[in-house]
Every structure is written in C-alpha cells, then in structure tokens.
Amino acid sequence: MKGTISPAAYARLWAICLFLSLAVLALCLLVGVGSDGKSPILAWPSADIRQIRILRLLAAALIGFALSGAGVALQALLRNPLADPYILGISSGSSVGVMIWLLITGPLWATAAARSSPALQSLLTQGQALPALAGAIVTCILVYVLSWPRRRDSAGSSGADPLTLLLVGVVLAAINGALLFLLNSLVPQGVRADFFNYMTGAISNDTTWLGLAIAAVICLAGYLPLLAASAALNIGSLSDLEAASLGIHIARLRTLCFVSGAVMTAAAILLAGPIGFVGLICPHICRSLLGPDHRKLLVAAPFAGAIFLLLTDTFVRASVGLFHGELAVGVVTALLGGPFFLLLLKRRSLWGSTAGGGGM
C-alpha cells in the first residue's frame, strides 16, 4: 500500500540498493585509462591497477554515501530540501578544521620525516579525523543557530526559511574559504598542506585502507543513529507542537540530526575536498521516486549518492585525455548540481508564493 512500509518491503529496498550499488561499482571497475594513460578503455583491469582503482572507487562510494546521508540529515533538521553540506559551508568548515590541524602539527610532520617514523606520520594523518569532525560540527551549529527562525507564539516554527538558509550558507562558506586562504598563508615553508585539495574537491590520493576504514566507521557512526530515528524524522518535519504531541522529543531529534550530518560530512572530508551538491541531488531524486518517508529515503539516498559519485568519478578518470589531465570530481558534481539546485529553488519559490502564502 502506498505510503506505508512493511519489514519485507524494507528488506527488499535494502537488497535493491545494495545490488544496484555493487553493479555500478563493478561497471566502474571496468572503465579506466588506457596504456598511454590518456584514452578511456573498457577492460578488466590488471591486478596492479585493480588495487588502486578499487580503493579509489570505494572511497568515491563512501564519500557519496556520506554526503548524501548528511544531506538528508540536514534537510530534516532544517525542514528544507535545499540543505546540503557543501552549500551550507559545512564541508569547508571541516576543511578549515583539517587545515588548522596541519598548521598546528606542522613541526611534527617534519620530525616524522626527519626521524623516519611511520608511526608518527600515520598518527598525524589519521588524527585529521578529529579536527575534521570539530570543524563540521561548529559550522553545523552556526548554520542551525543562524538560520532557525525565532520561536513564534503560534503553533511553532515551520522550518528554516530558504532565503535565510542560503544566505547563512553562502556567508559561512565564504568565511571558511577565506579562512582556508588565511591558514594556507600561515603554513610554514616545508610543510605540505595540499591546499588545492581542500579548495577544489578532488578525491585524495593519500587514501589508504586504514584511512578508508576509519572514514567508514565515522560515517556509520553518523548514519546508524539517524537510520534508527528515521520514523521520528518523518514526524519531525511537522511543526514543533505537532511533533511534540505525537511523542517526539524534538530537541533530541535536532541534536541527533546535526551531529549525524556533521559526522558524515567529516567522514567525506577525510577522503576528499569539499564536493558539492551530492547531498542535494541524490535525496531529491530519491524523494521524487519513493516519497519523503525517511525510512525509505535513508536507505535509498545514501546508496544513490554512492552510485552518483562512482559514476562522476569514473567519468573524471576516463576523461583524462579529453581535458589533458584529471578534473576534480567536485567540478563535475558542481556543473551537474548547480543548475539542478537553481531549478529546484525556482520551483520552490513558485510553490511558496501560491500555496504557502497563507497559513503561518
């Protein structure tokens, strides 16, 4: 029956999403660059290449999964389908966290190199998870505090106003961008900061199996509590008063949403620079296919994100010859997602002026 979900239907949805993702992963594994490193070919890769490609594809899939999941969390938090970790500056906030970490630990990196200490090097690399989390959470709190309307005395607020939300996001992203430039100019000579990586949103070359595993654990730590609260998220999209009357602890739910959203964004930032619009496109497409029920959305949207980023990253890899080098995958997602976003904004504002004019 439409609008409901049974355990069997839920299990079926999981199976379909998992199967589709694995199929796309396998397909993407076949597409690669040819012998001269330029033209795209379709072939089963050699063992050497397979190892590199699988790691990168898994990273892409995890980033897509995390960003799309974070998008759903933020959209539920702000009751607004235009929310996205990139647009709201949360991705860049996470990058700022990592950049501060690089700046503070600069001398230690040099020590690790000079003393040939792989343990210290590894600690410094994997330790980036903490500042990435901190940066994302701080930005997320700022977005929430700044864009949430003041409590009204009637039936409670209906969510973040799209215009306020976008303005807050644009300004925070600009501030974070400026902070990145500022921090980069403070990085001492001889410390590698991979500044370009944090500005353009490419999948990092430094990904290791350990790094991937850490990011996956962080991603799941954000995802699973959100999934468990998916029925509550549906009710949380009503007004505060209605949600309360239906048995929802709205403050707890909001905290969960922004912690989960920030944690998943940070997981993505550990593997790549800020990649935009994944968290916007994928949940939206899933919503139009499956409806807004978070019990379905929180399964379908992250997998759709994984599939989307697998495909865009494969395009990036295969188009080396076309662009005389590799594009950052963030360039492709922005070119696809930007127009999509504007279209969505246009449609929403039309809707808002006709149906939403009355009410509260």
């Binding site: 609008g3 209906s158 999209s237 009357s245 239906l246 048995g247 807004p292």
Partner: protein, 271 residues
C-alpha cells in the same frame, strides 16, 4: 505490537504558572483545574489570554515555570514523550504542510509512532502493523479524508488539512484529546460532522479539551467552560453559569445578551 491505551484518564493542573523568559511577565498565572472522563471542556478567552500557551504546556512542548500537570496522578514531566502521546492527542490550530509532501495516509500513520516506541518496531523504524493501518483507516473515515489517503498533504486545501489533523489525532486513540480551534477552516457540513463525532467520543468517556473563540460553539458543545483572561483562570463551570453577560462583558468589551433558551448574542458597545 501496540500498547493498549487506557480508555479514560484524568488530567489535573495544579497551580500552573509559566513565563517565556525568567524576567518576562507570566503568560499563565496559578491555573488549577481537574478534568473528568466524558467531559467536553471549552477553554475560552480573548486574544492573548494564554489559551495557546496552556495547550503547549499540556502537550509537553513547554515546561511549567511553577506548578505541575498530573496525568492520572503522575507528573507529566516524569512521563516520556511517547507515554504522554499515548494518553493525549492534539488537533493543532493550523496544521503546517511542512516542506516534504507526505501522503495523507503517511501523516495519519504518524499518530501510531508513539504506540510502537519502547514496544514494537525494529531499530526504531516502527513499521506499520495491520492494527495501525486499521486504526488509520477508521480515523480517516471518521474525519472524511479517506478518499484523499494517497494525495500529498501539500496539495490539500486548508480545510482538508485540518480534517487530516483531526484524523491523525483520532488515530492516536487517546483518552484525552486537545483541539485548538478545530472548526475554523471547516465548511458547515464538516463542522457538524465533527461536533457529532466529538460528542460520541465523550460518550465513550474520553475527555475533550477545546480551545475556541467561538462562544456559540462553546455554549452548544461544551459541558464545562474555562474562562481565561490575561493568563488567569477567571471562571470554571457549566456553560449557562459561565457564559453570562456579567462574566463576558468586562473581558471582551462587547455587549452580551442571553435570552432564555436562546443563543448568546453580541453587539459592539456604543460608546
């Protein structure tokens, strides 16, 4: 597996006061009343008298500054949200459509969430059981929205949305039902339909609390009136004793006449 809700419950408000900020003046001052099963209580008073604030406190969205609210002799602050939602449902004044276009059925089924929490559901996903679907169907028939079941809530008119909110509150199947201006957006047919239904609920010893500006409605439907002004409870009793010119004229600043066995009439005071 749904938790069987008790069919009757008693709500006791004791010396309840509330201020929106520590320094702000009290929005509610020293309110006390106790409900009995089967009562239809209308809370009336002019704009800003504290009706909505009282409602938000009863639902648990706001917490009392002083005093307490007892549900079957348990302080509501010691009840979980879901335990409260199993005993007390709300029809809000204007239901927000929200940003996401849930279907009417999905909205009504949200009422069943509280019944699952703690008991049924896997991983907190609370899948709908046959009982839930049945309860939702009954509620949608009762509020005359069953034909809209698969329509998105965002595509409905204000009156239809109000009926969906009523259906949702009915699907919660609680002994206590709060209604905030439930008839404002309804056409005449659905107003009368609702009133009939509310009376039959009261006959099943459920307690209804109704916030309204419509003194005629309060007069005809309610068995008890709570008259409020400026955060105070002025009078509490049956309609014919409370809705009198002596009570109403000072706070509404209108002329009130009440002929024997005839409805109340109001006119603007000539200065």
């Amino acid at each position: 597996m749904s938790v069987i809700a008790p069919s009757a419950a008693t709500l006791a408000v004791e010396n309840l006061s509330f201020a929106y900020a520590p320094a702000a003046p009290n929005a509610l001052s020293d309110i006390s009343f106790t409900t009995r099963p089967g009562e239809i209580i209308a809370i009336v008073g002019p704009n800003g008298c504290g009706k909505s604030t009282l409602l938000r406190l009863l639902v648990g969205e706001l917490l009392p500054s002083t005093g307490r609210i007892l549900l079957d002799s348990t302080d509501t602050r010691r009840l979980s949200r879901t335990a409260l939602a199993r005993r007390l449902a709300l029809v809000p004044q204007l239901s927000t459509p929200g940003a996401f276009s849930y279907t009417v059925r999905e909205i009504v089924l949200m009422a069943r969430h509280a019944a699952h929490a703690g008991g049924g559901g896997m991983l907190g996903l609370s899948f709908e059981t046959e009982d839930d679907l049945h309860a939702a169907d009954l509620a949608m028939w009762a509020a005359d929205v069953h034909h809209l079941a698969d329509r998105p809530i965002t595509a409905l008119s204000g009156g239809e949305r109000q009926r969906v909110a009523i259906a949702r509150a009915l699907a919660q199947n609680t002994p206590l039902l709060l209604l905030d201006e439930p008839t404002t957006a309804l056409d005449l047919y659905h107003q009368l339909d609702l009133l009939d239904h509310l009376r039959s609920l009261a006959a099943q010893s459920r307690t209804l609390l109704l916030v309204t500006h419509d003194l005629h409605l309060a007069d005809t439907l309610a068995t008890r009136i709570l008259l409020m002004d400026a955060g105070h409870l002025l009078a509490d009793g049956p309609p014919n004793q409370i809705l009198t010119p002596a009570n109403l004229e000072p706070i509404y600043h209108v002329q009130v006449t009440r002929p024997q066995n005839a409805p109340l009439t109001f006119s603007r005071r000539t200065v």
